[in-house]
Amino acid sequence: MNEAGPKIERNACLEVRKRTKEMVEAGARMIAIVALEREDGSIELIYSFDRQPGIVDFRFQILPEWEVDSVADIFTGALTLEREVVDLFGLKYKGIPPGLFLEAGKSPVAPLRRRPAPAKGGDEDG
């Protein structure tokens, strides 16, 4: 557990392709892209891979305005994982459209971000 987390780095957005390629060439299978918002409002991205016998991941931290490189052409299955991050965190991925899960105009925008606060569900009666 790294309390401080990785440093916020601009070129991490570009390095992600190189590191994914290394992983995929080593025979690893991408299992998830975890995004989470840290206290200071930056976004931590964790790319995890199944490289037997366990899970290997690499993580980096970016600001939400930055555009991240898509790895969908290296690992095709990453496309849905990236679209999910785009929808739920409002991040920008190069060439990835939003709208996988959320209905424009009805659903809250970027619901898993703390600011703006995620709207409560339609359970008005309480």
């Binding site: 659903s107 709207a119 339609g122 359970d123």
Partner: protein, 151 residues
Amino acid sequence: MMTLESKMRIRSPWIMHFDTGSCNGCDMEVWALLTPRYDIERFGAMNRANPKQADILLITGPVTKRCEDRLRNLYEQTPEPKLVIACGDCASTGAPFHNCYNVNGGVDKVIPVDVYVPGCACRPEVLIDALVLGLSKWREKAAGADKEAEG
């Protein structure tokens, strides 16, 4: 008085099942209704995927934002008199998903519901009960509609 047509419709209510974001638990129980153990064809009910042919809408799930318009669309396509059964806790009140941000919290927030079925997931026996209760409601509805047509 009810017309012959209405009487016959009650004898064979065709159902249409639509999932509006449930966890699949109630959907499986709806399917259990259609299959040998609970076999709902005993009551003349059949599963049709076509809203135009359906008399009863079995709706599961708390109605997600994306399903909202589809559900209303299906409801409007179903011919009158129709019956809407909200299957399960989440369709009745949205309970298990009350903290989720993308749901409407119950079918009755979108379309009128006639019968509310409790249980998470609702047992097939409860669904049979609900069908029996719903059909008695429906009889009243059909009688009223026929009277209107005559008068």
